[in-house]
Symmetry: none
Subunit: 221 residues, 4 copies
């Protein structure tokens, strides 16, 4: 098939999968339903994605893509301001991204769990080729560090323009920011529909606290 057509259809399938998975979660989503939602047969579905797992990798890839785009656009919109402001803007975008694309942020988290199981398989010499051959899995490999790198670059710009302390280890601080976002998603996901009593803390304040901690850490004294 014309590669671009195939791509279009593949995307339609991923759209369908996202809809189904978004409402039921990955484990409860049925391939049958995804196929139905995409208006195709299960067999066709399998001709596009070797397995449910690989289909999920495609979604995860989209999540990384979307996140990356958000990062790029944030950077673009903050060319005029200081690197510190730009860095803060990136983290703010990241937080918003997670809030507005809950399914994607969940996918991002699941990704970490999945590579964790994968690696164990590898350790036990089980055949993981099926999974690791997934083109999307490979593409994720290429993409996963890009958001981090973009953040690092923005921080470095901040160092240059004097808005960020020169002794800041950009990679380290980027990762630290990332842990805060990741932890935030987790809390978000757990609390979004949960009546857990203690979590009556306004998540917005939590986000702001995290952002201000970052700023404090980066900004000149």
């Amino acid at each position: 098939m014309d590669p671009s057509k195939r791509q279009i259809k593949e995307n339609r399938i991923i759209d369908a999968a996202i809809e189904v998975i978004a409402s039921n979660g990955f484990h409860k989503a049925k391939m049958d339903n995804i196929a139905k939602q995409a208006g195709i047969t299960k067999v066709t579905l399998y001709s596009y994605f070797d397995s449910k797992e690989n289909l999920y990798f495609a979604i995860i890839y989209r999540a990384f893509q979307a996140l990356t785009e958000v990062f790029y656009s944030t950077i673009d919109q903050n060319k005029g301001v200081s690197g510190l402001e730009g860095t803060k803007a990136i983290f703010e975008s990241f937080f918003s991204f997670c809030e507005n694309n809950f399914m994607y942020s969940e996918a991002l988290l699941d990704y970490f769990s999945m590579i964790r199981s994968l690696s164990r398989d590898k350790a036990e010499d089980v055949d993981t080729s099926m999974t690791t051959q997934s083109s999307y899995f490979i593409r994720i490999q290429d993409l996963q560090n890009l958001p981090l790198k973009l953040t690092v670059k923005e921080m470095e710009r901040g160092i240059k323009d004097g808005s960020i302390r020169s002794d800041v280890d950009c990679m380290l601080h980027t990762l630290q920011g990332w842990t805060m976002v990741v932890g935030y998603i987790k809390l978000l996901s757990a609390s979004s529909k949960n009546e857990s009593p203690l979590l009556n803390v306004n998540l917005k304040s939590l986000k702001e606290l995290s952002l201000s901690l970052s700023e404090t850490a980066l900004a000149k004294a």
Copy 2:
């Protein structure tokens, strides 16, 4: 059966489950393997745990117990020092706990995914009673907020003894600390067996950075 004997066996099963789940994660673990590892049959396994999920709840409960104990003991060992120091010590313990009990920290995270899935089911009118009536699930409910509360209390002590700024929202800062730990676990799990190039950051420095951010946020100017 003699209740205490049952308890012993139950614990043995949980031990077995931990071993099996530790190597491939919850979803890839098979009840068959767990039973085998425990030296019993699957049906016996089911006579102890209604479902795979409930078995995992037992593990999660253990994780919460272990974490709580660590918190208590940390608090105990830091009676003499300031509340700020005590708080820092708690977070340090938390980080160490995760590093040393990776499976437990994973279980803690999975717990959040599970209650999220539960709430989804509830929204869809699926019968969740089986799960929510699970004795371990109930026990977790009672325990889940304790570590948070203990941290809050320690922070409050810090406010009283003047080591922590009086305008600190203890619950908020506790949660913020928690997000950093949670994000840290995620990175930990993802990086442990992943050859991702950027993650050549020493995880120890990451932990220390997080701790120092917390301290800065709490300590008097």
Copy 3:
């Protein structure tokens, strides 16, 4: 399970399979229907028989068993008469067996086709272990020549008692008889429900002609 109980159930499944296959033929029979007919699930069916093919081997085995029993009983009933008469009786029984157990005779024919495909697989170094490991397949190997041997023995008795010519090559004549029966089944199967015009020959006369040819070949001049 108690081996005998398993055997009983296995036999019930084979009974069900025979019913389904008898009315639709092997290729059109669905595993689903066989399972339903046996009052079990498909999975259970598969726990008894690795594949549809192996299930068919079980039926073929039964066919060989039934045929062997018929041969034994025929021999038993013809102890008093000459070897020639006994031999004729065996062939007569064979013919009747095919007429009365059409499904079995078809299975016998299919067996030859199946081992033919099997052997090609082997030649091409494809993994045939699945098929050849079938316990029924192995059992058939042990049984398949017994009817031939019994016929040979009866012929030899005929040579000894003087009713059969002493220069007869028993194995050869047995096989020759077998070819006539096999050919007869084929015609039977093709004609039974077919309105083929030329086959207005009475199949009974055909059988008698074959028998008389055999007798002529064996009997003393």
Copy 4:
């Protein structure tokens, strides 16, 4: 397309199908492989043959054609000798034909299975028109009895010229001869790659025995 070109291509496809089917039998042959072997796509294959079955009918038709030709040529070469000799020659040719064209003889046998299956379908009110309207199926109808008729005619010549007993039922004896050949093919196919111990009988002697039985039955005392 130019009809003759179509015919050529059709034949090429049949050649390819024969190669593929020869190695594993009809049921294990894949349309995919046949298409590949013919150097065309599956859809093109289907534009030539409505179904796998119909493709096989084309092969079967070829088998009947080839067999018929052999019969004609045998008859032609035996004009000068007696009808009995001619009849024997026909059966001899038939045996040789099977040995030399194993795939064809198998196809001939399969044909009987197929028409049996068809008649079953008809009984169950399944629509069989697709098959029965297949041009090759129709052509086979016209041809299938010709070899038998030729044999009958040759026998009748034998009766006239006095070489065959006048009380011989030619149709019946022809069919009887046919059963022997059919049985022979079956044994041939089963033994060719089978390590069955008893089948150490020289198949050539078997053929000769069958022929001599026929001769005895036909020849004047």
